[in-house]
């Protein structure tokens, strides 16, 4: 029997909760992207002037403009050495580092979205360990059948093979669950890192080469690297933007996403493969660079919100700026070049601890 009158409502909706910062001011998508693009352009010009030979900014701009518009006359008064330094030495390295930063950040957004875990990154699924293992084999056996591209190629094959293995292990009657993917990623990565240790152990005098490669570097990148990473990064961006809305829905969980029209298994697989490919290309070109794919999406989610249609381009640009900055720091500012992977881990690691701790305290 119903009894009316004395019922007391529990006004749960009026419980006081602090407004989080992210909701207070979300800058418009266009403004954020335009601002970041401008920042990136400035960074490219500025960093091209920095280095062993300090060049004046106007000269750098002139050199870039003359190359861009194919007008050799514009740089008639400029030292040809400067032109070579900018176009053949610095720009390929600058653009490669920016593209790798963008690619790792993009992959980070997607891995976090698929694995439903804001602390996942391109390396959670063992893709980097696979790339490192492949590269170590190529370095150890001194395989030269493809010239300087043997190592990146082996790294790529290692990464792709690892992804296939992880997906195979994780798939079962229940489909691809994020828990299964993370678990199999951890297992495979553990085996691979033991394998890498073994390779180092038997490597003898080659061990230095392996260790150096594993720590990551953008030194002596070429326009071919730029073209390779550029294709991968912009190709993956296109794929990700097509599925960005589905990725939003996937945050609600598999059942809800499917009930809202997402072909969950297919979209998961397409995104997983694309994100792994772009990470593999990045690792193959630059070695192991951690924390960019983890931190950039996390920070950008606070700035631009979790909607992937905005988060993806914003994270890509922010990742590009961040890694370009980090690489310039080690290339031109620090007295001695530190491997970029070490630098990002030294700076990113403590920051990650901070973010993680805040999360544990329920503030993020």
């Amino acid at each position: 029997m119903e009894r009316s009158g004395e019922t007391r409502d529990i006004e749960s909706q009026e419980r006081d909760r602090p407004m989080s910062r992210a909701t207070l001011s979300v800058p418009s998508t266009f403004g954020t992207i335009a601002g970041l693009l401008f920042l990136l352009a400035v960074a490219v010009v500025a960093t091209a002037a920095l280095g062993y030979i300090r060049l004046p900014f106007p000269a750098v701009l002139q050199i870039m403009a003359s190359r861009l518009f194919d007008q050799p006359g514009w740089i008639a008064q400029i030292d040809p050495v400067w032109t070579v330094v900018v176009t053949e030495v610095r720009l390929p390295r600058i653009l490669t580092s920016a593209l790798v930063g963008g690619g790792l950040a993009l992959a980070g957004v997607v891995f976090q979205g698929i694995l439903l875990n804001p602390l996942a990154d391109p390396y959670t699924l063992g893709v980097s360990a696979g790339a490192a293992f492949g590269a170590s084999i190529a370095l150890l056996l001194n395989i030269g059948l493809l010239g300087v591209y043997s190592v990146p190629l082996f790294a790529f094959v290692g990464a792709a093979g690892t992804l296939l293995l992880v997906v195979f292990l994780a798939s079962g009657s229940g489909g691809l669950s994020s828990t299964n993917l993370v678990l199999s990623g951890i297992i495979v990565a553990a085996i691979l890192s033991a394998g890498i240790s073994f390779l180092k152990y038997v490597a003898d005098e080659q061990v230095g080469v392996i260790i150096f490669w594993l720590m990551g570097s953008f030194a002596s990148r070429t326009w071919l690297d730029v073209a390779m990473v550029g294709t991968a990064v912009f190709g993956s961006l296109a794929v990700f933007m097509v599925y960005a809305r589905d990725l939003n829905l996937m945050a609600l969980g598999e059942r809800s996403a499917a009930s809202l029209g997402v072909d969950f298994q297919r979209v998961t697989l397409v995104l997983l493969i694309t994100a792994s490919l772009v990470s593999a290309v990045c690792v193959a070109v630059s070695g192991i660079i951690g924390f960019v794919g983890l931190l950039v999406p996390h920070m950008m989610r606070m700035l631009a919100g979790p909607d992937n249609r905005r988060l993806l381009p914003v994270s890509m640009l922010a990742g590009a700026i961040l890694l370009l900055g980090a690489d310039t720091l080690t290339r031109a500012v620090l007295p001695q070049e530190i491997p970029i992977g070490v630098l990002t881990a030294l700076v990113g690691g403590p920051f990650f601890c901070y973010v993680f701790r805040r999360r544990q305290l329920g503030k993020a």
Partner: protein, 262 residues
């Protein structure tokens, strides 16, 4: 009976997990424009049946026809415009705002790259109001209580504007005021818009208050089904749950209510 007037026609449906059978040769026909309550003991297959009706799981045997057409022949996006699901609980790890999550219910009606129009926004605002979460619209879902989150996904299902709404214990996390408020709202959807609700309930009395028909499941089959007043009897309750109960028709209520005995 005319096939195409039936909303769902299920024949000999089977579903099993590797270690046990969940649905064992279930056959059932459901007409549109009614509020169905799906009842039964834990593990009898209620949630699995909802999943099969929405094609979130593949049956191991048998067939489901939806509006006279094999369910397998529908595209996912078509189904998303025809049926909405309110799951029992939902957990979201990313700081989407309440409004963003509710707007996701409009996605099935919008082309992939289209932004929501004024109609979509008005619809979302209206539903935020109805579900009593307008005050929370710009808060992050990660900061809400369980009951508040539940109202967010109910709102998301409502803006999806589908003829069929499946509720999987959708109100069990809500306090009684919000539970009654939202069930009244769902009842209105059935009465005014000829929508069909298929709802899993744990609370038999809530089901009796709102449902036109009750389906009692047992061991992966529908053991008893029919109009609420006809099938809600002490015998049914004893047969399905093994409990002793009386069914009463209190003057204050327009529905039978069950009083259990220890």
């Amino acid at each position: 009976m005319n096939d195409t007037n039936d909303l769902f026609r299920i024949t000999d449906l089977r579903f099993r997990y590797p270690d046990r059978d969940i649905i064992r040769g279930l056959s059932l026909t459901l007409a549109g424009g009614r509020f169905y309550g799906l009842l039964g003991p834990n593990g009898c297959g209620k949630t699995t049946l909802l999943d099969l009706l929405m094609r979130l799981q593949r049956p191991d045997g048998g067939q489901i026809h939806f509006r006279g057409r094999d369910l397998k022949a529908y595209r996912r996006s078509e189904l998303a415009r025809a049926m909405a699901l309110v799951p029992q609980n939902f957990y979201i790890n990313f700081p989407f705002t309440v409004r963003q999550v509710v707007m996701m219910g409009r996605y099935p009606h919008l082309p992939r790259f289209a932004a929501p129009g004024p109609d979509d926004r008005a619809r979302v605002d209206a539903v935020l109001e109805t579900a009593d979460i307008a005050a929370l619209a710009d808060k992050q879902v990660t900061a809400l209580s369980g009951g508040e989150r539940q109202r967010v996904i109910i709102a998301r299902a409502l803006v999806q504007d589908t003829d069929v709404i499946l509720l999987d214990e959708a109100t069990s996390n809500l306090d009684i005021r919000h539970a009654l408020h939202l069930l009244n709202l769902f009842r209105e959807q059935v009465d005014r818009q000829q929508r069909t609700l298929i709802a899993v309930f744990q609370d038999i009395n809530l089901a009796a208050m709102y449902c036109d028909a009750l389906l009692f499941m047992q061991n992966g089959q529908v053991a008893v089904h029919g109009a609420t007043t006809q099938v809600l009897t002490p015998e049914t309750l004893h047969g399905i749950y093994g409990v002793r109960a009386r069914v009463m028709y209190p003057a204050e209520s327009n529905a039978p209510q069950v009083v259990f005995r220890r």
